[in-house]
Symmetry: C2
Subunit: 264 residues, 2 copies
Amino acid sequence: MNRPIGVIDSGVGGLTVAKEMMRQLPKETIYYVGDTARCPYGPRLPGEVRKFTWEMTRFLERYDMKMLVIACNTATAVVLDEIKREMPIPVVGVIQPGARAAIKQTKNRHIAVLGTIGTVKSGAYEKAIKATDSSIDIYPIACPDFVPLVESGEYRSPRAKQIVSRTLEPLKKTPVDTVILGCTHYPLLEPIIADYMGADASVISSGDETARGVSAILEFNEMLSENERPEHRFFTTGSTNSFYSIASDWLGDLDLNIKKIQLA
Amino acid sequence: MNRPIGVIDSGVGGLTVAKEMMRQLPKETIYYVGDTARCPYGPRLPGEVRKFTWEMTRFLERYDMKMLVIACNTATAVVLDEIKREMPIPVVGVIQPGARAAIKQTKNRHIAVLGTIGTVKSGAYEKAIKATDSSIDIYPIACPDFVPLVESGEYRSPRAKQIVSRTLEPLKKTPVDTVILGCTHYPLLEPIIADYMGADASVISSGDETARGVSAILEFNEMLSENERPEHRFFTTGSTNSFYSIASDWLGDLDLNIKKIQLA
């Protein structure tokens, strides 16, 4: 089934999920929408997040996608259940996969969740983790400064290092051995976060596990593609130049098909 | 949905999958069937493997299982598609998850598959891996002596070491960086296999990834259990004593509910 898989995010963060999908599922075609013009979603009210996420979903519907990945934790927390219920195709988010990977990884059952204000407020990770294993302790940390750092391309700067240290400082007194990057933008800050947390803590990106989940569901439903030369497409509501700069850096691909679009 | 998950295998090997499921999904109840009396399945004709696997499936049907895991590579290769098609519940095997984990792991795209004669002959791993990524090279090795070693409890003996070295010798001349344990019995030999392959090769057990896949499918279908105290059951067609000895060693649990049954 060679129809594209839709991947949607508030901006460039979902590219961390798309990259893992391209690596683990090299025959799948990805159509990516980044709502960069209205990023970040984290501090927005749920009603807005819901509306914007549906707009991205409706936009991709015209391309006859076979599956939708909501590659944004904030959007997953707010509207995954509703979109899953209403769409006739498989829809997956990034929270359950991140929770799953962390449950597998932790040895002492103390897990930190880094997320946007919206994601942390929703309690979605706690819910997902406790649904599987009630004995795990969760330490949520809102990191409102991380997404702007990434979207502005400053994710390797000394300032990024400062902000990460300041934000994660409360974790130093805890026994956490596993840290969930509960926002798809954060993997771009992963080297700095891993460095700050030290070698004893595992840092979990949901992209990796989401790609595995997508693979499991495609295979289970016999929907894998047989296309040897998939042609990905990228749509952004913001500047194609700044999208290109981060996307080509992150994906290691200079030949990207990017188009500016309007939603709403 | 607190109904049990059925796990079936030719013998004790599927316990490596069950163990990972218990760890990653501690609220799920597992009903395990090991057809020890007719183990190994590896050298048997497909018609026999098909018949025996259906017998285990029919046996578990009376317990109203919500999902079935065919935790035996030989049975997965022969009859997964048919059972999946005919049963009204989700059915998963262990080959696709093992393939998925290996694709994620390999860096140089050279993967060895260790399996029974039946699994190697079926070409099921090649098919699963190539379906996802055609550029990967596969090195299949039939290991007919491994299952008897495990079922007899000799999986830590010097003899086990000798047999592993002799069987895997052809791999020493290849560039493989990832080895799939393509039989659920083999994880009990994993320390010896990993030691022989050296630190540069990754050894993949499908149990780990199968448990993740089960988790993904339960969550996707909203079928997770909320049972805080699941009571697992184990059924064997062979001696309960030798089943107990390996199961309690492997699961680290001395209080197991094991019952001898007859199939066929």
